[in-house]
């Protein structure tokens, strides 16, 4: 007994060091698992509150680019509305069947209060959380394209796993055909992501637009991502192409969070299939 107490006395610093090192290692490993990091993330009350205070001040610097983005989005939506009007006129029917109306997605606006893009595993923080109906695994986009997937949420804030995260995997496809692959990031350039596992027979050309594929319950179909800028001609297994994003990930302001209302139904069907 004496020996044990003596041992603890002698090595107390080292043992304390080991304890703290173990805690921090555990937190590090947990952080890289998708929505496993319950404790250490920026979506808590203190860091979220501080970040939103700071972003209230700094958002004035981005008003110009934010305005431009909004005007461009309005232009795009108005053009789509015009096309839609013509389609409505062409439809030869006077009855609108309101019982067939079905909403699949809801959109919530949020503001990005903390943005990272230089690390290998990047996360963003937004100023909406559980109180505003934001949960885990919802899509985060802006008018120019996709941004990420919500990860951990607190009452007022949520953490978003950016597409610039080495763990991120998003279903994406070519706009002009239905060939799809999975979109990831190699950690090098924050403007370029990698689309891999596209079928070999898919006709790829530089300048082709990539959009989300809608094969998952997170992202709706047809949200813009970027254009192909480099095609590897080599005979690699995973046929990877480089995609330059439409979004400038270093300058993000307001975003939309998309909730899939059918998610529970789809997930329950998929679970049934597995059994």
């Amino acid at each position: 007994m004496q020996q044990i107490i003596y041992f603890f006395q002698k090595f107390k610093n080292f043992l304390f060091f080991l304890l703290l090192a173990f805690i921090s290692l555990a937190l590090t490993f947990n952080n890289l698992n998708f929505h496993k990091s319950k404790f250490v993330n920026s979506a808590n009350f203190i860091s979220g509150g501080l970040y939103s205070q700071v972003s209230n001040i700094s958002e004035y610097w981005n008003l110009k680019s934010e305005n431009k983005r909004l005007a461009e989005e309005n232009k795009r939506l108005k053009n789509r509305l015009e096309k839609n009007n013509i389609m409505v006129f062409n439809v030869d029917s006077t009855i609108i069947d309101s019982t067939k109306y079905h909403q699949k997605y809801t959109f919530t606006t949020a503001k990005i209060i903390n943005n990272n893009y230089t690390k290998d595993f990047n996360f963003l923080t937004i100023n909406k959380g559980l109180n505003q109906g934001i949960g885990q695994e919802m899509a985060v986009i802006n008018s120019k394209g996709i941004i990420g997937i919500t990860d951990n949420t607190s009452n007022g804030y949520a953490r978003v796993q950016s597409i610039l995260n080495k763990n991120s995997k998003i279903n994406a496809r070519l706009k002009h055909s239905n060939y799809f692959g999975s979109l990831g990031w190699n950690g090098i350039d924050y403007n370029t992501v990698q689309l891999s596992d596209i079928p070999r027979q898919a006709p790829l050309q530089i300048g082709d637009t990539i959009e989300t594929g809608g094969k998952s319950t997170i992202f709706p179909e047809g949200i813009l991502i970027g254009v192909i800028t480099k095609i590897n001609k080599g005979n690699t297994a995973d046929n990877t192409v480089d995609v330059t994003l439409f979004n400038d990930m270093s300058n993000l302001g307001y975003v939309y969070v998309i909730k899939n209302l059918d998610k529970k139904e789809i997930k329950s069907l998929e679970v049934l299939q597995d059994e």
């Binding site: 107390k12 610093n13 080292f14 304390f16 060091f17 703290l20 090192a21 805690i23 921090s24 290692l25 555990a26 937190l27 590090t28 490993f29 947990n30 952080n31 890289l32 990091s37 250490v40 993330n41 920026s42 808590n44 203190i46 860091s47 501080l50 970040y51 700071v54 903390n114 990272n116 230089t118 690390k119 290998d120 595993f121 996360f123 923080t125 953490r159 080495k166 270093s250």
Partner: protein
């Protein structure tokens, strides 16, 4: 620094400086200084090291909270906090009786330089190894360590130069 700054002030000023200013620098696209490790350099030397280790860990963990990095900052600052005594013994040749009178600024510049450079390099190396989290592109880790260390050290020496009163 003529009078010793008290620990809570140092702790919070370094924390806020790091998360609100230095984490957003992105010099040349990817280089950030990690100046919060100055806490380890400036914390007074005492015989009981447990509070010192704990405060360092807490500072690292607070920065982890803000930068979504799990426990990487906490781990790397903890390592240099633990190793600090060894390097003080090595470079400044102090024994236990000298601890209470040890002041970093009263030492010669060469010794301070060796001491800070060693600790900074160790910290940045641990930090970037875990931030990379794989054994691929280790050259990247080494380059990041080198550039960020230079940035941190330049800021540290400029800071001490500015805040030191001339007599």
């Amino acid at each position: 620094m003529n009078k010793t700054i008290n620990t809570p002030t140092l702790f919070f000023s370094l924390l806020f400086l790091q998360i609100f200013v230095l984490n957003n620098i992105h010099f040349l696209g990817f280089i950030n200084p990690y100046l919060y490790i100055v806490f380890v350099f400036l914390y007074p030397l005492k015989e009981n090291r447990i509070p010192f280790l704990f405060y360092s860990f807490l500072l690292g963990l607070s920065i982890d909270f803000f930068s979504d990095s799990g426990g990487i900052h906490a781990l790397s600052i903890l390592c240099i906090a633990y190793l600090r005594l060894f390097f003080i013994r090595l470079y400044f040749r102090k024994v236990v009786a000298d601890y209470a009178f040890f002041k970093l600024k009263s030492e010669s510049f060469g010794k301070i330089f060796n001491y800070t450079v060693t600790l900074t390099l160790i910290h940045h190396f641990i930090y970037f190894s875990f931030a990379n989290f794989s054994f691929n592109n280790y050259a990247n880790v080494l380059l990041n360590t080198l550039y960020s260390s230079i940035f941190t050290l330049v800021l540290y020496f400029l800071g001490t130069y500015i805040f030191t009163k001339k007599e």
